[in-house]
């Protein structure tokens, strides 16, 4: 008796263990629905932040690499340069001559070079270099600008 009753009750219990009640499922779905949306939003926001960070770093690197290339231009070859996109630069500032890779499509790199003397007047022997990197925020499509300035003397 005892054994049977155990078996019977065991069968009954086993049936109850493997099933979910509708209420349970409804509650679980409700909780999930409450949480999934913000978590998803959080993930997409994070994605945006990561893109932004990556873009900022790329912009900084793009500016630095161009300035590093410009540092190697001989003093004799240095000359003023109105604000211009890097791909349109002529010698001696052509990217190929400077051994600098072009900017990725998403980025626009512009450079301006102004000769200055120590008193701040135009002339030389210094060249005030301003590199502007522009790109669009990947989600908001708003333009972002990053500018670096340096003084160059030209290589000996």
């Amino acid at each position: 008796m005892t054994k049977k009753s155990i078996n019977l009750s065991g069968q009954r219990h086993r049936r109850a263990q493997y099933g979910f009640t509708l209420v349970e499922i409804l509650i679980a779905m409700f909780i999930l629905q409450l949480v999934i949306a913000p978590v998803y939003l959080m993930f997409t926001e994070t994605q945006r932040t990561m893109y932004k960070a990556a873009d900022t770093l790329t912009a900084a690197n793009l500016a630095s690499s161009l300035i590093a290339g410009l540092r190697d231009v001989p003093t004799k070859a240095m000359r003023p340069q109105p604000l211009e996109e890097d791909t349109l630069l002529g010698p001696p500032y052509q990217l190929g001559i400077l051994d600098v890779l072009p900017a990725p499509e998403e980025f626009t790199r512009k450079v301006e070079i102004i000769p200055l003397d120590l008193a701040g007047r135009e002339g030389g022997p210094f060249y005030l270099v301003e590199v502007q990197i522009t790109w669009f925020n990947r989600k908001t499509k708003t333009p972002v600008n990053y500018t670096v300035r340096d003084l160059l003397k030209g290589a000996i």
């Binding site: 949480v35 959080m42 932004k52 900084a60 102004i114 120590l118």
Partner: protein, 660 residues
Amino acid sequence: MKTRSGFVLPGVLMLVCILILLAATRHYFSRNQLIQAAHGAHYEKAYHLAVGGLDSADELFMKAVSYFNDSRAETMPKIAKAPPELLPILKALLDKDGLPYTRKEFIPIQPAVFKHLQSSWENFATLKVEVELKDLETLVIPSAPGPVSDEREKKILVMLHAEASINGAVAKVCRYREAKLVNILPSILGKFSLYLRQQGSLDNNSFVDTFAGTGGLKDTPLIVYSGKSTGFASLKPEAAADFFESQGWIFLGGDAPWIVGSGPGGGSGEHASGMQMNDQQMFPIPAQDDFSSLGFLAYYSQPEFLAVDLKKPLYNQAFRDVNNDQLFSSRIRISGSRITPTPTNIVGKAIYRWALIQGFTNTATQKFAPFPMLKEPQFPGGNWPGMSQNAAMTVEENFAGDFKRYSARMSYLIEENYNSINLRALKFPSPPLSTAIQIDPISISDKDRPGTSRRLKVDTRPATFIDVNHGNSYQVCRDDGKVLFDGNLSGFEDLRHFLSKAGESFDEPVDFFKKIKNKEKENVISNIYYIKGDLLIDRPLKAKDGCGGMVLVGGNITIQNEIVAPNLETIILISLGGNIRIATSSKIQAGLIALKGSIQAGSSLNVEGILSARDLSMSLLSPLGSRKLLYNPNFDATDTQIYNRGFRFFMPEEGITFVQ
């Protein structure tokens, strides 16, 4: 049992927790990444701002240093004449003596280009550039007797600090160099236009001179112009001390006296000895002499250069019995030439030798009969050179057979302390000439004597400019009293302490020439260089921008090309252990120093500077050639103003840059 079937809820909750945790973590790290990226981007801007600031400050600093190193008169005094853009930094760098000095505080630099770096850009950008000057070590001369150290000569660490900050991202960049603040004047040697420690193997009086024109010469003497010329008798006694003090002096070392024979230089005023007064003097015949009754006769005295011609009929064989060697003149004309006499101060045992022609003159006919130089045994008997026996006997009778009376009137060779010839440059109210024309320094009244030297003491006594300046111990001072040298000038030969001043060192001359070649392909001396072996100067050397410098060479120096110092800047070539050979007639505007060896003039010599050596040797040279040494007063280390102008701040062009 029922409760076990609700396992889905905890599971979902757990999943939710995991999702939230994942999302939060990802969000946290991405935010952090963004912050880092933004900071990195700002740092990149700050770094470029700092490097730009550092470069411009460095340029300004280097310009200030170049300006400091420019010793041209138009840049003196430094602060007053400074260009506007350099004025603030020079004011900060230089002390009251006009020299850079080390200190604990940093010196701020604000070039105008900084404004362009910062203007209309980042709101929170700041840039600060400062210079730090830090003592490293003093360049000390060994404490043996001799040259005295100047504690201002030292090694200095120059550090430029640039700090830029943009939106909290701070970049610090530093550039350092080891600089040397040194004086490029060659110590007291710069005071001496000619400095010879000993006479050398060649006889000083080996120049076979003649009155008969330069065509008769076999050689050309070295003419030393030690500064300003006075002409004759143009110096006032009260101005004399200052005059002699500022001339380039001459040191003739060694124990044996230097007998400097005067010479006519082949009849050329350019080659003849300076300071030889040729004014003829007439003296009435005193009553005790027989010919006193003849009113048309008088005694005369005529100073004359030394030449073998004095033995010949042109001079009535007045010096026939004198040894030729005594009539040869010196290879070196110490007081300039006859046309341009430059009186100077001789330090050492120097004697001036010249001839005095004396005899009868007929004042009516202007004819002269010189009396020959005789020894006492020759006097009686009438066997005199250049005269008939009768004439000789007549002259003997005139002096009543008294050789002593004759010898006062006969022609003879005079040897006097060399410096006493300086009296001939003085304008005495009435020249106190003795009967023998010589000016005896003892006979000069105190008021007519030039003052003593404030820059030279010989055996603790102030030197005079008209007496012998020779002793065992010499003290050379600047005009402000600072002692530059204390010891025996003859023993001063070791210049190795100059090596501590060297800014650049080379194993091979080729590296030296490579280093000094500038963009215009000129070989410009603008530092103190040390070359370990020999140096052959086969291309022009040049000083530029008032800087000058020094070349120290371990071995021999051979000069085959010109050395040009456009504003008489000081260029010094020193052979520390060898000789200097001059194998060019081109102009050498430099000081040549070989205290352990010789200066060998193989050809013409045209030096504007100084010559210092153990001894001087000269090859025979055609009389058409010339040997000239002009003193460059910019070498005068005893003049405080000039001495201070000799300071240079030498440092490498390229500094070492690092990011802090």
